[in-house]
């Protein structure tokens, strides 16, 4: 493997304007170089060429799956009739809070990214699906949209280029599953947020049955910079050519300085925790880290301190976890892993949409078992049962919520088995149970 350690430069890209309170206004955004990217390409660069630029930048989706952005766009068929962009701003993955800040602090950067994506794919209507709880970010985006319409950056014949595009916001109603791209499309159409059977994929049959691109807020926020500074510049950041650019890491939990960190892809988790986040809170020992939002399998101290696991898409995948949404949840030695798993299991039980038998019943079953375990009413068979449910919940459902739940609890049971056994043998949680069964 060819690691580019020298490419791990600490350069802020999407959060560069976070310190500038005026950047959320159109004047401040333009003053700091905003809306230059669309001027550069609209009417100058062909849409296909824009896709090539994005492909060459190596930009991968920042929502969870890490799918190459340009490649996703190129799946959209070249056909007449409407196509849509759905912006996934339903940031619901526990431990994740980057899109919230990107919308709140730099909404025009998102809008410019949307315009670039729409231009590249030939889309004239974009919908921003914003998590229902995101009141302030939604107000920020709506204000920015009004300003951008006023300034002629959105609407008919933008900047005289002949390209027209409208952007709308839509507030979600509080379901995690609407962050799943086809659940999001159903919800946008006014239905229950039920993920759709795939194929067909949204690129072919998406919103209102039309070809649709679904992109995450952070992904789109990168686009203006890639256009302005070039694919080579972007591709030059990051640990290797498949993990380029920066990520917004949302660090929460037992570190001295939790917060949002934009860092190049491929730093080690240890560097992030000990370096950027100031080390463990109160000098306590590290026990575990969830590296990419609740669904990313938990990592142990050994994996972090001895194996020096890196926080890029592929290194995490090789370690059996995933980069996910960038939510880094750090747990120290005082954390009960059964309790942590129980809390997350309750989340999946709550958020399963309920359509697939496997997920509907599986998430509830798992939550029930963890609640019993944590409350001292576990039985020796439970761990074996959990291990088999872990297998049975994978790969057999319409969407991956079931897999996500299984990945989560499977890792907890496998990597911290002794804590589970202690709960069963001792008949209680050594640390006490805050969530009664």
């Amino acid at each position: 493997m060819n690691l580019r350690l020298d490419a791990l430069v600490t350069e802020k890209i999407v959060s560069a304007r976070f310190g500038d309170a005026g950047a959320a206004d159109i004047g401040g955004y333009e003053a700091s170089g905003g809306y230059r990217a669309i001027r550069k390409i609209f009417g100058q660069t062909g849409p296909k060429d824009v896709i090539e630029i994005v492909k060459a930048s190596g930009l991968r989706g920042r929502g969870g799956a890490g799918f190459p952005c340009g490649l996703k766009w190129s799946f959209v068929p070249d056909m007449d009739g409407p196509k849509y962009l759905a912006v996934n701003a339903d940031e619901g993955e526990p431990g994740t809070f980057k899109d919230r800040e990107l919308m709140l602090r730099d909404p025009h950067q998102l809008i410019e990214g949307i315009l670039i994506a729409c231009y590249a794919v030939g889309i004239e209507k974009a919908y921003i699906f914003i998590r229902g709880e995101f009141d302030a970010p939604a107000r920020s985006v709506n204000k920015a949209l009004a300003e951008a319409y006023e300034a002629g950056y959105i609407g008919e014949n933008i900047l005289g280029s002949g390209f027209s595009c409208d952007i709308y916001t839509h507030m979600g109603a509080g379901a995690y599953i609407c962050g799943e791209e086809t659940g999001l499309l159903e919800s946008l159409e006014g239905k229950r947020g039920h993920p759709r059977l795939k194929p067909p994929f949204p690129a072919i049959v998406g919103l209102y049955g039309r070809p649709t691109v679904v992109n995450n807020v952070e992904t789109l926020s990168n686009l203006s910079h890639i256009i302005e500074r070039g694919a080579d510049w972007y591709a030059g950041i990051g640990i290797d050519e498949k993990n380029t650019g920066t990520r917004m890491y949302c660090v929460s939990g037992h570190v001295e300085k939790p917060g949002l960190y934009e860092l190049p892809l491929g730093l080690t988790l240890e560097e992030i925790v000990d370096g950027h986040c100031g080390g463990m809170r109160g000098g306590k020992a590290l026990k575990a880290v969830i590296p990419g939002g609740a669904s990313a399998p938990v990592l142990t101290t050994k994996e972090i301190r001895e194996d020096k696991i890196r926080m890029d898409f592929d290194a995490l995948a090789r370690a059996g976890s995933m980069g996910g949404s960038g939510g880094v949840i750090v747990m120290d030695e005082t954390t009960c892993m059964v309790q942590a798993a129980q809390r997350l299991a309750l989340f999946y039980e709550e958020e399963s949409c309920g359509q697939c038998s496997v997920c509907r019943e599986g998430t509830g079953w798992v939550a029930g078992i963890f609640s019993r375990l944590e409350n001292g009413r576990g039985v020796p068979d439970d761990l074996g049962t959990l291990e088999s449910i872990d297998v049975n919940m994978r790969g057999n459902t319409i969407c991956v919520l079931s897999d996500a739940c299984a990945m989560m609890f499977g890792a907890f049971v496998k990597k911290f088995r002794s804590e589970f056994e202690a709960h069963i043998e001792g008949g209680r949680c050594p640390l006490g149970s805050p969530y009664p069964a």
Binding site: A175, E350, E351, S352, G354, Q355, R360, W365, N392, N396
Partner: protein, 854 residues
């Protein structure tokens, strides 16, 4: 099978699949069972239950798929290799069943679904016999949703078949689901009672005991019963149904399957209407009037009396002094014998199965325009039509499964045009055009439509097409619109939706059409559009009875009674003369009876008092006639004028054939024997009368009758002998001739409300009226527009007095936005037949409140 058939391999066996067919669908057709719950062949595919997971070893391109795939959502492809029973798939299936049973109560011993439960059966076949749960099972609050359906949602496996049925097929969308995850709850909106007329289908499709038949509940186990599949005979659609009996008692009815008629759906009247067969309103033995009172009598006595009186009148006054009415609610075989009795034994053509004048008007229009009784459309053609014109038809009220076929066409992209005084509700959005003429002005509205279609390029057909075209070209569309009260813009849009140049149109004429001009103009339009035309008439076997010759002018097989050649042909088969004289239809028969010229009346399964809109005429006719025979299964008003009452079996108890509105002949098999030994097969009773008159009918027994029918009505040949499953549809060459219609005078503006009558399926007929299981249906009401209600000071549910011709009856009021201003609607065949005058002007006023108590 179409040429677009593909071959794939399932479990190392080669199978054929239709184009776009799923692996699961093809497997089930081939008899390979892949477990499934949410999949239903007549509903959309959702892939939710995950029980039908299979391994795609090869997509047909050398590559397999890494994940197991739901075979319901996986289209079978050429060369595809699929495993549904290997170790990997079996393990996945076992896990799905474990999840499904996680919260399912194992209360099979007290669950009605036990023994016919897909969850039970498939768990035995595909599940594991262990339970690993230590958690409590899910409990939902107990709820009531309908008098018919018992919800036990703790048993629900969330397959959502009921949700999809009500959203896609029924269209009312009354079922839905609330909550998320394992708290997801299937139910109906705010637990209001279900209103759908086809609600019971959710019982059939529920794969567990979550939605069961409340009327059948705890009465029998499936293995104790036998089921008899055959056509339903409550209306003229002829849906396939399964009648389940135990020890000669009907326990329940479920839907049968006939892809050309009803797919797998039946209406609630079919599902629970059978309860009238066991009602105390049944006529359980022969009766004779003596000293003004009816008394029980033996068959010999009663039949001898009927034979001697009818034969006596014949020898005194000739056959023209006798008449027979009815037969449209009997088997073809009984109808044929009834006709033969009157024509060949009693020597009269005074015989008519069309008791209601609208049936007469429609048949005469058919006879004139199409040269035969009946249309030449099919229900399949309707479901596949590109555009449908509904004329005087409100299918959900009159023929619920016809409504589902119209909806099916609409789902496939068809446009619907409805011409009806009311804005009928098919629960569809888009591609629906309403033309709302004033009551009794349908003919003018249709002429306006015909003229618009002519301008759009539709060509009149048949002899006299030129005259018709000339007459039509002279029609003033604007004046017709104005006089009939339809909107000219709406007319243009409706004509545009019918697009004459593209074909693929189906026309349905419903019971809302009462005058011959309107029916004739509907025929003209169908001919101009090259459309299929269906006559959705009220009586279940009207078409069959007409084909069997229960029409004063038609002999069996449709021969003209006035034609010597046709009469000779019939005489050759009967071995006896067919009469040339006197051809009176129902109205003329009633007039003649009221005037004393007709002395003997035989009412076979009909009651003019209840069915004829001129109840006063019917009463005078029955009163004046010297000798009245009532041969029926249930008591009704006409019985008070009967001199002899003969019990008849219901069609649950008869063998024979019936013919539906599309001329599909289906075999009726006896589900149960009639209750009591005194009820005899109707055709045998009629034959016995002929024997007692010493002029026996030549054909004795069903086989002999059918052999005679084949000689006279050649097109019935495929219907007898080895009949195809699902019945034999007797095709008819779509020929006919357009002819100009004459419009009645434009009626003056009315002072009061104009009444339209709604022939609702569940209020029609003595059998349904006495069906105690149907008690939960909404009662009779007067519907009127919000504007009229406001003007008259009438509120929803308020009792109103309805005055017509000096008589007043009281009904609860319903405020209904589908009614135009100035029009009110009441159900047809209400007690008090004076109301049965469509188009009549009524006066409505809030009933005076009686003060209760001191």
């Amino acid at each position: 099978m179409p040429d677009a058939e593909i071959t794939f391999t399932l479990n190392r066996r080669k199978l054929k699949a239709r184009k776009d067919e799923s692996v699961l669908g093809a497997a089930l057709r081939a008899g390979v069972h892949i477990p499934h719950f949410c999949y239903h062949k007549n509903l959309s595919v959702v892939g939710q239950c995950r029980a039908c997971l299979v391994e795609i070893v090869d997509l047909g391109n050398g590559n397999g798929l890494p994940k197991l795939q739901p075979s319901c959502a996986m289209k079978a492809g050429e060369g595809m290799v699929v495993e549904s029973a290997n170790a990997r798939v079996k393990e996945a299936q076992e896990t799905v069943f474990e999840f499904l049973l996680k919260n399912h109560p194992l209360d099979c011993p007290v669950c009605d679904q036990g023994g016919e439960c897909p969850l039970q059966d498939q768990t035995m076949a595909f599940g594991k016999a262990i339970s690993r749960t230590h958690e409590l099972r899910r409990l939902y609050p107990e709820k009531e949703i309908s008098p018919y359906i018992k919800p036990q949602m703790n048993r629900c496996v969330h397959c959502t078949r009921c949700v999809r049925f009500s959203g896609e097929i029924d269209g009312g969308g009354e079922f839905g689901w609330a909550g998320r995850g394992d708290r997801t709850e299937v139910g109906i909106f705010q637990d209001l009672p279900l209103t759908s007329i086809v609600s019971g289908n959710v019982i059939d499709i529920c794969p567990v005991g979550a939605l069961t038949d409340n009327k059948y509940r705890f009465t029998a186990r499936v293995w104790e019963m036998k089921d008899v599949e055959g056509p339903c005979t409550h209306c003229s659609v002829g849906c396939s149904q399964r009648v389940w009996n135990r020890e000669n008692e009907i326990m329940r009815v479920t839907a049968g399957e006939n892809v050309e008629v009803n797919d797998t759906w039946i209406c609630d009247v079919a599902r629970w209407g059978w309860s009238g067969a066991g009602s105390k309103e049944r006529i359980d033995g022969p009766m004779i009037r003596e000293g003004g009172e009816l008394r029980s009598a033996g068959w010999d006595e009663a039949l001898s009396l009927v034979a001697s009186r009818l034969d006596g009148i014949r020898s005194e006054s000739g056959g023209t002094a006798l008449a027979g009415l009815g037969g449209a609610r009997s088997t073809n075989e009984a109808a044929y014998q009834f006709g033969a009795l009157f024509r060949s034994v009693l020597g009269t053509n005074n015989i008519d199965c069309r008791v209601h004048p609208r049936d007469t008007a429609q048949t005469e229009a058919q006879r004139e325009g199409l040269g035969a009784a009946g249309g030449f459309g099919s229900l399949t053609g309707l479901a596949e039509a590109r555009a449908i014109l509904l004329v005087g038809s409100d299918p959900f009220e009159e023929h619920p499964i016809l409504a589902l076929q119209v909806r099916k066409a609409h789902r496939a992209g068809a446009s619907i045009v409805s011409l009806h005084p009311r804005r009928i509700d098919l629960r569809i959005l888009g591609r629906m055009h309403h033309l709302n003429p004033l009551p009794c002005e349908e003919a003018r509205a249709l002429t306006a439509l015909a003229r618009t279609l002519l301008d759009a390029g539709a060509a009149p057909r048949g002899d006299g097409a030129g005259d018709y075209q000339k007459a039509l070209a002279g029609a003033d569309t604007d004046a017709l619109c104005r006089e009939s009260g339809i909107n000219a813009g709406g007319l243009a849009a409706a004509a545009g939706a019918l697009r004459p140049e593209e074909g693929g149109v189906a026309v349905v004429v419903g019971p809302g059409i009462g005058d011959e001009a309107a029916a004739a103009e509907a025929v003209n339009i169908a001919l101009m559009l090259g459309a299929e035309i269906l006559f959705a008439s009220g009586a279940p076997n009207l078409q069959g009875a007409l084909d069997m010759g229960l029409h004063p002018g038609f002999l069996p097989g449709g021969g003209d009674a006035a034609s010597d050649a046709a009469r000779q042909a019939v005489a050759g088969v009967w071995g006896r003369e067919a009469p040339a004289s006197s051809c009176l239809g129902t109205d003329a028969i009633l007039e003649a009876a009221a005037g004393g010229e007709i002395r003997g009346l035989y009412l076979f399964g009909c009651d003019p008092l209840a069915e004829h809109p001129n109840g006063d005429l019917a009463r005078r006719a029955l009163d004046r006639a010297e000798f009245v025979v009532v041969h029926a299964s249930h008591r009704s008003a006409g019985r008070e004028f009967a001199d002899v009452v003969l019990p008849a079996p219901t069609l649950y108890e008869e063998e024979g054939t019936v013919t539906n509105m599309e001329r599909r002949v289906q075999r009726l098999r006896r589900s149960v024997k009639p209750d009591g030994p005194e009820v005899r097969e109707a055709s045998r009773v009629i034959a016995e009368l002929a024997r007692l008159m010493e002029r026996p009918l030549k054909a004795q027994g069903a086989a002999a009758i059918q052999a005679e029918v084949r000689l006279l009505a050649e097109d019935y040949a495929p219907a007898f002998g080895r009949m195809p499953e699902g019945g034999a549809r007797l095709g008819r060459v779509p020929v006919g001739a357009c002819r100009a219609v004459e419009h009645a005078l434009v009626s003056a503006p009315v002072d009061g409300l104009q009444l339209i009558l709604a022939p609702t399926i569940w209020l029609s007929g003595a059998l349904i009226a006495s069906a105690h299981h149907l008690s939960g249906k909404p009662g009779a009401a007067l519907r009127l527009s919000p504007t009229d209600a406001g003007r008259l000071g009438v509120a929803e549910g308020m009792e109103v007095g309805v005055e017509l011709g000096g008589e007043t009856i009281h009904l609860p009021a319903r405020v209904d936005e589908s009614l135009p201003v100035g029009v009110a609607q009441a159900p047809e065949a209400l007690p008090g037949a004076l109301l049965n005058r469509g188009g009549a002007v009524i006066r409505v006023s809030p009933a005076e409140k009686e003060t209760v108590g001191a």
